[in-house]
């Protein structure tokens, strides 16, 4: 056993801890590199365009049934409770606070993140990343930062899209299919929802976009064993991102509900 190998801790779960540590290290590297000049504007715009083009349509298509499901579910529930006039308020709250950032993040991770991971992964196994580092250009700054920023920006913008489309879908299903009153639906919008809900929604989207970008880039930079490893890495990137997203969403929601008192309470 060489001293180099002996240094690495070797207990159950050490591998997972090591990977987590490296992932966090890459996240920190990205944060630091964001502020390092020169900023790769061209790459950033290209990546924004790319991620947006692969996510806009699926996001909109997912948002409509999502809004509808919430409207239907809440609609029946609220009628039973006798609070029809709050249908609009409840569905807006649910869509903006929970549904929109999650739908956005799932699509940014599933469509954008997998593409980023596959791209970076194939560059890694072709030694392009090494070649770039050897040419004195930091791959994190040159390739990863624009992608992560693009994922964040697109997530924030898509979040707005999902909110609007989702609320419109909810309106359609409540008013047209369940015979709700349009006026009650609209006027109850602001009964429960408040402005900080929108802010936290956008904040969540921003954080989720960051996580999706960093995880995708991390898995892409460390594929195991050649071309097959890239396929596995993409798969893992999506799964890891999903797990992280739901966990982080739970934490952010818990903190938000504690920090910002609900309207009217």
């Amino acid at each position: 056993m060489t001293p180099g190998a002996a240094k690495q801790a070797d207990f159950p779960g050490a591998g997972a801890l090591r990977e987590t540590g490296r992932l966090c290290a890459l996240g920190l590297d990205v944060l630091v590199s964001i502020f390092r000049r020169p900023f790769q504007t061209r790459e950033f715009i290209q990546q924004c365009w790319f991620i947006a083009s692969v996510t806009i349509l699926p996001t909109a298509l997912v948002a409509i049934p999502f809004g509808a499901v919430i409207a239907l579910q809440l609609g029946t529930l609220i009628v039973q409770l006798g609070a029809q006039s709050f249908t609009g308020a409840a569905s807006v709250l649910a869509i903006i606070q929970q549904a929109a950032p999650l739908v956005t993040a799932l699509l940014v991770a599933g469509a954008g993140g997998s593409a980023i991971c596959a791209d970076i992964g194939s560059r890694t196994i072709r030694e392009e990343i090494d070649a770039m580092a050897v040419l004195g250009v930091s791959p994190v700054q040159r390739l990863i930062v624009p992608r992560v920023l693009a994922a964040m920006l697109v997530a924030v913008l898509l979040n707005g899209l999902v909110s609007v489309v989702g609320v419109m879908g909810g309106y359609f299903f409540t008013v047209v299919l369940q015979g709700g009153t349009p006026g009650a639906y609209l006027s109850s919008f602001s009964a429960l929802a408040q402005l900080p809900d929108l802010w936290v929604s956008e904040l969540k989207a921003l954080v989720f976009g960051f996580i999706a970008g960093v995880v995708a880039a991390y898995r892409g930079l460390h594929p195991k064993g050649g071309p097959k490893g890239v396929g596995d890495a993409v798969n893992q990137a999506v799964v890891i991102t999903f797990l992280l997203l739901f966990f982080v969403n739970f934490v952010l929601t818990a903190v938000y509900l504690q920090a910002v008192p609900a309207k009217g309470s």
């Binding site: 056993m1 060489t2 001293p3 180099g4 190998a5 194939s122 560059r123 072709r126 030694e127 392009e128 090494d130 070649a131 770039m132 580092a133 050897v134 040419l135 004195g136 250009v137 930091s138 040159r142």
Partner: protein, 369 residues
């Protein structure tokens, strides 16, 4: 003048598997060195450790006063600008055409105007015989062309140190000869320190000033080319002649039983895979193309080698003296004593502490570890 690279006690392992241990050598500034070694002895890993892509377990690699192994990231990226690295299959950026690939380092690191970049890029592409192919994508050209484009990109910043990972693999013998000539010409023009990792014997015999060999997780030797070319080490002899008889097996290690069996086959008249003649011995080195300046590195090396001449093994000494012109022999005050051919000479490498010593005397007995 190119930068000097001083490597001390470099050790690398992946998990429990040691790749090589205690590699100590220095690449003299402005000279051309070749690192030989059977496939799978970690030659590419060695190159990657030298430029900080892989982190060695121990040891140091000092370039221009910066230790690549321990320095900060920012310093590492700064130092890497001194390097031009040719990867095994070129490692071109797949999304850019050849022109943009070669222009990439210039655009990233210099403030040159596009017309100036165009002039430099086209010059380097012509140097590597790629004129007319500048708007092809790496996926559309042959492996040999990718390799040459990779070299063009490595040269574009006029590096002080050029590292080539198997420049000859995938190239035909003629293109390899052109490439060898190109490397020597470059050395004459920009006086860069060059390290070539290869297992091409012809290149190893004709190109370098210094020659080293990695085998069984150790640096077998590193020193003036004459030392290795005339060496009687069984590994070196087997490798240079490309025969099956010797310590190198199909997988790296070979045990005594297999060696005996193979020897019995050969004794029974079975061909051992080598050519008719012994390829060891000092052959003339490639000179820069006529019209180019003299290689400063070669001149400095001559002085350096003559200073340590008395420490070298006898066969190497004879080879060096034979390669000198009469005027040089008079200048260095040495005479040739023609000895029997190298085959009858037993190496005495442990006396050559300075430049061609065995890093560990017991490396041959190391197979058990």
């Amino acid at each position: 003048m190119g930068a000097e690279v001083v490597i001390e006690g470099l050790t690398k392992s992946f998990g429990n598997q040691a790749i090589w241990r205690d590699v100590t050598l220095s690449l003299p500034p402005g000279e051309v060195s070749v690192m030989l070694g059977p496939s799978g002895t970690g030659k590419s890993v060695f190159l990657k450790s030298m430029i900080g892509l892989l982190k060695p377990d121990r040891g140091s690699c000092v370039v221009n006063g910066v230790d690549i192994v321990t320095c900060s990231e920012a310093k590492l990226y700064e130092t890497r600008k001194l390097f031009g690295v040719l990867f095994q299959d070129g490692a071109l950026f797949g999304s850019m055409d050849l022109y943009d690939n070669v222009a990439f380092p210039l655009r990233e690191h210099t403030k040159k105007s596009e017309t100036e970049i165009k002039r430099i890029v086209l010059e380097k592409l012509e140097l590597t015989g790629l004129q007319g192919a500048e708007h092809k994508l790496p996926g559309e050209i042959s492996g040999g062309m990718r390799k040459r484009a990779g070299l063009a990109r490595a040269l574009v910043l006029d590096p002080e140190i050029i590292l080539c990972d198997e420049p000859d693999s995938g190239l035909d013998p003629v293109r390899t000869a052109y490439l060898s000539q190109l490397l020597i010409d470059l050395n004459a023009q920009i006086d860069a320190t060059i390290l070539i990792v290869t297992h091409n014997i012809n290149l190893a015999r004709t190109v370098p000033d210094n020659l080293g060999m990695l085998f069984r997780k150790e640096l077998v030797m590193f020193g003036p080319r004459e030392v290795l070319l005339t060496s009687d080490e069984p590994v070196v002899e087997q490798f240079l002649n490309g025969r099956r008889i010797g310590p190198i097996g199909m997988s790296e290690e070979k045990d005594a039983a297999q060696m005996a069996a193979e020897q019995a086959h050969v004794d029974a008249g079975h061909h051992d895979g080598s050519g008719a003649e012994d390829l060891r011995g000092v052959v003339p080195q490639i000179e820069p193309t006529p019209g180019l300046p003299e290689r400063q590195g070669a001149r400095r090396r001559k002085d350096r080698v003559m200073q340590i001449l008395h420490t070298l093994p006898e066969a190497a000494r004879e080879g060096i003296i034979d390669s000198l012109t009469d005027a040089e022999r008079a200048r260095y005050n040495v005479r040739s004593h023609r000895r029997p051919p190298a085959a009858s000479f037993r190496g005495s490498l442990h006396e050559t502490q300075e430049i061609a010593r065995l890093p560990r005397q017991d490396w041959r007995g190391a197979s058990g570890r």
